[in-house]
């Protein structure tokens, strides 16, 4: 190993899998070896059994579906509102001066702390879950998009003006396409965060979803189910991240060329 020396793609796969193997091995050693009480941590086999039980008999697929829909719903709502605001802030400095201080303040408000208020306002239905994710995502997206659009190369903007572009032409045909790959990356990042908000939202006042299943399992001290739920979240996150990445690469071929 030397600093910054690249690895082959085969090595990357092998090393990446090796960590998972090591992780499960340690887990097995701790549980099967009796070093940790069954009450606190289920062993890997129990976890798989509980997972099968959940999927086959307790309708866990429905919970997964509910959670995915909430994440996507809340996230899409946030993106649809935040991206245009962010673009306007990045393009027009007075708009930025008007909104930036508030958005900077608002993005530090923890989404989970809004849950009691949101239950009061929106009940414990779907709207409340969507709003938690919305609040968690919207300010982050606005701010990051504004910074990205504001950092558009000045010389490209000037070139567009000397080619006869007007202000709306510069926004639509320079600022937007130039910032688009970064915006897509921002959305990918925030989608990952949305996953943590949804679980917190489902832990309180919910009757479906992965988070709800985890709270139920806690009442029954079923650590196998809890761990299975957590792993499912991780897997879905990994898959959505991969799909998002592939989609971005397909959308912006000029970035890779």
């Amino acid at each position: 190993m030397r600093p910054l020396e690249p690895t082959t793609s085969k090595q990357r796969v092998v090393y990446g899998l090796a960590f998972f193997v090591l992780f499960v091995a340690l887990w097995s050693w701790a549980t099967f070896g009796g070093h940790v009480s069954k009450t606190f941590l289920a062993n890997p086999l129990t976890m798989v059994q509980e997972g099968y039980e959940l999927l086959a008999k307790q309708g866990f697929l429905f919970d997964i579906g509910m959670t995915i829909w909430r994440v996507i719903g809340g996230f899409a709502l946030a993106a649809v509102i935040a991206v245009p605001i962010g673009v306007l802030m990045g393009a027009y400095k007075p708009v930025e001066a008007f909104l930036e201080p508030f958005v900077s303040f608002a993005r530090y408000l923890p989404a989970s702390a809004f849950i009691p208020l949101l239950i009061l306002w929106a009940g414990i239905g779907e709207l409340q879950k969507l709003l938690v994710i919305f609040i968690g995502a919207v300010f982050q997206i606005i701010l990051m998009v504004a910074v990205t659009v504001g950092a558009t190369r000045r010389d490209l903007v000037e070139a567009a003006y000397t080619l006869g572009a007007g202000d709306s032409g510069v926004i639509r045909r320079v600022l937007l396409p130039s910032a688009a790959p970064e915006i897509a990356e921002i959305l990918r990042l925030v989608l990952g965060w949305a996953w943590t908000y949804v679980i917190v939202a489902e832990l309180i006042g919910s009757s479906s979803g992965i988070g709800h299943m985890i709270t139920d399992s806690q009442a029954l001290l079923n650590t196998g189910q809890i761990i299975f739920g957590i792993i499912v979240i991780g897997l879905i996150g990994l898959i959505s991240d991969f799909l998002f990445k592939a989609f971005n690469a397909w959308l912006f071929p000029w970035k890779l060329a």
Binding site: L156, T162, W254, A257
Partner: protein, 261 residues
Amino acid sequence: MTALRIDQVSRTFPARAGHAPTRALEPTTLDVGDNDFVTILGPSGCGKSTLLRIIAGLDRPTSGRVTLDGREVTGPGADRGMVFQSYTLFPWLTVRENIAFGLRERGVPQQGRHDIADAFIRRVGLSGFEHHWPKQLSGGMQQRTAIARALANDPKILLLDEPFGALDNQTRALMQEMLLGIWERDQKTVLFVTHDIEEAIFLGSRVIVMSARPGRVKAEIAVELPHPRSYKIKTTPEFVALKERLVEEIRTEALKVAEQA
């Protein structure tokens, strides 16, 4: 008839914390006639780029005014095409789409855009690269595309701000010949900023020498070499004599800059 008139144009950059205001350009007067090829030669920091940016409308003069065909310049516009030293092709557009950018802004329909763009692609020798992304092109090819992009708009005047400054010597020589060939064929009013003496003589019908900061016009030298010019002209006695004279002019200015620093 005078195409471009620069009348007592000066530029002072306002003071920043702890620094006095910077006088970048002394009041400068210059006329550029129809189909003239004028090169502006000066050491770095002599305000020659500032002057070009004011003509392009990307910067405002502190005093004086610029008029093009009698109309005052108040902002950038398609009648003044610009080629920058930095590579400013839009990375998300192909070579053809880049060249057609200005046409698109003007609402030229797609077929017309393609026809004009393809004609300029041939003119700058980029046939076969229509669908390449800028990232896939060498520096010289990117600047050829940038020149084609500015010309496709059919501007009244072409402004070039050290467009070959970042290229290696061999590529630069080829680009000079290409640009001169286009000018000899199509006749265009061109204002070309450079710090390369040979480039200034080879391309220009007139060389404007600018002094070190604050910039002002120090000398104006007519280049009476016949057209069409080939690279061989660079070794003729007339060319060498002009070069010697300009070397002296520029050297005094460069020394001033070195003393100030």
